[in-house]
């Protein structure tokens, strides 16, 4: 805000201040006046966001509103050009050591799973623990099996990703991230590429993860998930956080016109 964003000064409608409900109040992640451009295109405008440990955030908004870019900035898959981002007290800047540390703390699940097709499910899960955390192989495999059981597909360990259904692949991807024992999980539209029947099995895993107290930042249009799990829902439009509220007020009593329009569009079916 201090940066004086002249062309679009509309401030987010902070309805009721949206206090964290599930977090323990400890700061986990903070974004401060973050700006990002793709060439001339101003994709993130003056983003301010604070997330407490254990909090679950759902980010929604029309396509092109910058929600994916926002969470990709948090583990430096995208670089922000202005402002500050810090995760678990680690400032995200050009320091390669900081980037490595943040990536180890932050797990990410992608829309298209991005499993490594040349490795078995088990190898997908043990790759990073072995090469990044230097975990002994049998220990890494034990941990991998533990997380595969949690996502309910331990019997698929020896298969290749191409032999699994979309829902199974996404569950493997979640387990792969969990194997690095992250403090925060980022989800970038994890169910958008799935058949309707498979969405539930992935959401179930995510709900369970949320119950166990994982800090989660989730870009999704699954409004049912947002209602049951989220502590806060953030609505983005044209690179700005337009509205930020607890799910109940967000869905029942949206303040911003753009939010109202969006909700009426996606909830009309």
């Amino acid at each position: 805000m201090e940066n004086g964003n002249t062309e679009n000064t509309e401030k987010p409608a902070q309805n009721g201040g949206a206090p964290p409900q599930n977090g323990n109040g400890e700061m986990c992640m903070s974004l401060n006046a973050v700006n990002k451009w793709y060439g001339e295109f101003h994709v993130l405008r003056d983003i301010n966001l604070e997330v407490c440990t254990g909090e679950k955030l759902v980010v929604c908004g029309p396509s092109g509103s910058g929600k994916s870019t926002l969470i990709r900035c948090i583990n430096r898959l995208e670089e922000h050009q202005e402002g500050r981002i810090s995760v678990n007290g680690i400032e995200l800047n050009d320091d390669l050591k900081h980037i490595d540390e943040v990536r180890r703390e932050v797990g990410m699940v992608f829309q298209h799973f991005n499993l490594f097709p040349h490795l078995t499910v088990l190898q997908n899960l043990t790759l990073a623990p072995i090469w990044v955390r230097k975990t002994p192989k049998n220990e890494a495999e034990e941990m991998a099996m533990h997380f595969l059981k949690r996502v309910k597909i331990p019997e698929q360990a020896a298969k290749y990703p191409g032999q699994l259904s979309g829902g199974q692949q996404q569950r493997v991807a979640i387990a792969r991230s969990l194997c690095m024992k992250p403090k925060v999980m980022l989800f970038d539209e994890p169910t958008s590429a799935l058949d309707p029947e498979m969405i539930k099995e992935v959401l179930d895993v995510m709900v369970e993860l949320a119950r166990e107290g994982m800090t989660m930042l989730c870009v999704t249009h699954e409004m049912g998930f947002a209602r049951t799990v989220a502590d806060r829902v953030i609505f983005m439009d044209e690179g700005q956080i337009v509205e930020e509220n607890n799910p109940e007020d967000f869905f029942n009593n949206p303040q911003n016109d753009r939010t109202k329009l969006f909700l009426s569009q996606i909830l009309s079916h």
Binding site: N75, L77, D100, R103, R104, V106, G107, M108, F110, H112, N114, L115, F116, P117, H118, L127, A128, I130, W131, V132, R133, K134, T135, P136, K137, N138, E139, K159, Y160, P161, G162, Q163, L164, A173, R176, S177, M180
Partner: protein
């Protein structure tokens, strides 16, 4: 046929296709015609050649194999088959030619693969200068004829650069470099020396294999990596030094000496061979680099993003995630480059490297006039080499294919 069709009700009888419109008949006809045409061409060409040779009084056959070859081959490689003027026979000329083709092809393929991978990866570097340098290299080398490049390296670079024998660059008595090539001491083993060196070589290899297993096991159990490359190097050097100490008197070195105008003795790496290897490597690497770049680009961006978000570094991402997937795209066009390199080695005729086209299809054919036999054998050599290369790489390629697709 028309009669039987009329006897039965038309509805029960499938419509009869006239043979001119039957695809099976057509296929058979065209295949037969092609084979007939090919046979006719072969018989005509072979008959013509045979008649011409008969008119010139040349008897077709393999009898000339055991004749003494009345010419000298300009260079040969230590420890391989070598040529002696006035003693060596024609079949030995063939063996030497094939051997030299294989040597230059194998080393050329190794060099071109290493350099090609390196340049291909550099070309994708986020560093502007590095990427542009790699691009400039590729464009410079693949856009000029190979023959020109070989002439350039041999006659414009290496030959003028290297000193004449009398002004050789020397490093003690061991290394001597001049226009003829690089001379190294030639180890001469006698008596138990041979045994000691063989044993130490076998022991070193066994030790390295054991060490690899141990290092892998340790990494699996404790997660600690082990500097395998440097440790292996140390073992090899230690084995060589120990063998030298133990062999004592049983090993001696034959040094090259200046006799008259040239050095004699020792082990020689001919400058022409180096120039040819350098030219073939640099040229083919430019093409392989483009294959490598294409393969890496073809791997979905999400793959490296996933690896990076798991905390893998740039190098580890490339090695563990991107390159293994890129290989299935890189290999098929790279097989072609390996075959090209093998065949292109015949351009060595221009700078006088004694490979098979030069000494067999060139000198020997001129001397004997046995064009039919010699050409068939030379063609056969390239066929066999190419098919072996393809088979080996295709086998590797099937092993890196993705499963479950």
């Amino acid at each position: 046929m028309d009669d039987s069709q009329q006897q039965q009700p038309a509805a029960l009888q499938p419509p009869k296709i006239p043979w001119r419109r039957d695809p099976a008949v057509r296929a058979l006809f065209f295949q037969g015609a092609l084979i007939a045409a090919l046979l006719w061409a072969i018989v005509t060409v072979a008959g013509n050649t045979a008649r011409n040779m008969e008119e010139r009084g040349i008897k077709i056959g393999l009898h000339f194999f055991d004749d003494v070859a009345p010419f000298s081959i300009p260079l040969d490689f230590f420890p391989f088959w070598s040529f002696t003027l006035g003693e060596s026979l024609y079949w030995e000329v063939f063996v030497i030619g094939v051997q030299n083709t294989i040597i230059i092809s194998v080393f050329g393929i190794i060099g071109a693969t290493a350099l090609g991978f390196f340049v291909g990866v550099l070309r994708l570097s986020p560093n502007w200068l590095v990427a542009k340098f790699a691009a400039a290299y590729i464009e410079a080398f693949r856009n000029t004829p190979l023959l020109l490049q070989l002439l350039f390296w041999n006659f414009a670079v290496f030959l003028p650069l290297a000193p004449p024998p009398r002004q050789s660059w020397t490093l003690g008595e061991s290394f001597i470099l001049n226009k003829a090539g690089l001379y190294l001491p030639n180890p001469v083993l006698t008596g138990i020396g041979t045994v000691i060196f063989t044993v130490s070589a076998v022991a070193a290899i066994a030790a390295i294999i054991a060490m690899r297993k141990w290092a892998k096991k340790r990494q699996e159990e404790t997660g600690k990596p082990f500097p395998l490359f440097f440790a292996s190097l140390a073992v090899l050097i230690a084995a060589a030094v120990l063998a030298l100490l133990f062999a004592g008197e049983q090993v001696s070195f034959e040094y090259a000496e200046l006799k008259g105008l040239n050095y004699r003795g020792g082990a020689r790496l001919p400058l022409i061979a180096f120039a040819l290897w350098f030219g073939l490597t640099a040229y083919t690497a430019a093409f392989i680099a483009e294959n490598v770049r294409g393969g890496i680009v073809a791997v979905a961006k999400g793959q490296s993003e996933a690896a990076r978000s798991l905390g893998l570094h740039h190098g580890a991402t490339l090695k563990l995630v991107v390159i293994p997937q890129a290989m299935r795209v890189i290999i098929p066009p790279t097989i072609s480059q390996f075959l090209n390199l093998t065949k292109n080695s015949s351009l060595a005729v221009a700078i006088g490297y004694p490979e098979v086209v030069n000494v067999w299809a060139g000198i020997s054919l001129n001397q004997t006039g046995q064009s039919l036999v010699i050409m068939a054998m030379t063609i056969g050599v390239y066929w066999v080499l190419s098919l072996l290369t393809s088979a080996a790489l295709n086998y590797y390629n099937t092993r890196v294919q993705l499963r479950g697709r």
